[in-house]
Amino acid sequence: MTATSVLAAEHLDRLFQALARREYTCVGPTVRDGAIVYDRIEGAADLPRGFTDTQAPGEYRLERRDDDACFAYVVGPHSWKKYLFPPERRLWRLRRSDGSIERVDADEPPPRYAFIGVRACEIAALLIQDRVFTGGPHSDTYYGRAREDAFVVAVSCTESAPTCFCSSMGTGPAVTGDCDLALTELVGEQHVFLVEAHSPAGRELVDELDLQPAATEQEHAARAAVGAAAQQERALDPEGLPELMGKSLESPRWDEIAERCLACANCTLVCPTCFCSDVEDISDLTGEHAERWRRWDSCFNPGFSYLHGGDVRRATAAKYRQWLTHKLGTWVEQFDTSGCVGCGRCITWCPVGIDITAEVPKLAKGEAS
């Protein structure tokens, strides 16, 4: 049984200080460009205190709250994958010498990150990307190192957006483990964080903070708040999705979706589990050096499936089918888990508001008729 302790909101910086003493680079939510994004943060003052987000298909707005809540938003356009699987990263640098080639750079160790404010659905996404990058016959060592070193401060959601469907996917909103610390924020008469340690490193840090145990009423209040967030408008029944996707490969629904889909790739970029990438080789003017950079790519982008003279998937319908059938279907065969965690980002950030929780039932209906 994990003991729950209480950290007063005015003492939240003690957590940042303890992480700094351990030489972690803190990254977490902060307000920038009208959105809550993940970036370097130094302390509690950098958090989106007093802000919340309103989300709907194709819509995202920040709003002021009438309290000082730090984590009373849901999820923004960023996800933690940008730290473990950076949007662009140099894989190597080679030099041509004596008619041969040799590597001239060393593998740079990733920063030791402390992730602040990781939601339950995002923990699920981390576990999925662990399988993608470190669970196969070959391993992405940068990802593995960054992940192994990362200190995860999770936050249970006490609010849901209309685009959230983690309850139905079984990934949230309560944090139940797979992190170092789990916080639940309570605002009201007292603004406090209930703190649970879920790892030895987390326990050690909690001990150092010298916190009081939580009162029973506080624990009840936290459970009630997280329970309220579990009541969500949207749902996706994960049962039978791989079979449905497999049966739907030639459904006319893909053409229907393609009439709306702009193939803009937003859904894949905001998705916390999408992992496709491209590489680009760069040389300098001397011709003596060459580098390879890996960059995020998307199954919606032109050239993604290029093969002798043209793309295998030319139609937007084929590209959308690849995205959705992979995410909800073939992902399970490949990694023994769905690729979807129900975070709703693809719904919010789709410029035309395509909603996978609405499209899947249409595919199922098409299958039945």
Binding site: L94, I101, G136, R145, L307, H326
Partner: protein
Amino acid sequence: MAVGTERAAASADDVWVPRPWVVRSATREIGDTVTLEIEPRDASAARPVAPGQFMMLYIFGVGEVPISVSGTGPTSGLLHTVRDVGAVTHALCNLGVGDVLGARGPFGSAWPIDEHKGCDVVIAAGGIGLAPLRPVVRHVLERRGEYDDVVVLYGSRQPDQLLYTPEFERWRAAGIQVEVTVDHADQTWDGHIGVVPTLVRHARFQVDEAAAFLCGPEVMMRFMAQELVDRGVVPERIHLSLERNMKCAVGMCGRCQLGPEFLCLDGPVFPWTRVERLMAVPEL
């Protein structure tokens, strides 16, 4: 956080880094196609290679492409037969003896030749697709007694695009039936005319004892596999080699997917039964 993976002892991104290999010979097969024999500059970079597998070949400052192994050279080198169709393959086709290129691999699945000892063997290829199958022909040649009737069915668009024709007599001398066709004949051609699947009717083999290995354009492989199945070949004994865009070759870039399959890890060689339905879906 522990993520259940051991920290690799070797240099972090080894799988991504091309190693220097040296060109031992470069032979122009036909107008736009060259066979390179390459060896690792540092013998420790050599790995065992099975027929059907591919390497990622890299030209400094130009780029990298997946190329199937088309045989082993007279010494310890690996053969790659490359058609000049893009920037990297153009540079590969212009390498000379002693030049250095980069290579990673080998990657991917192999032709299950040993699993079909005692069978009749049908090898069907279109165009450059004969390159990944040549190691199968050579494997059978070296162990001729272990296989029954062996047939090579091969076609290209025109007579001057046929690969490895100087070897055909040696194959025939070992009792291998070699049938060749072209889509468009010229005045020099007195052989078959038509697509590769039309050669099946000339092939002498026992359908119920045959294993088939196919490589070529997807449409050719689909019709070939169907033709063989229609004639009674056991679908599970038909194998084919597929191709998709590929950047990493280690199952991470996501580009080479065909349905649930990562061609770089699960393929490129698949049993027909595993990909038949996927190959029938346009633009999958």
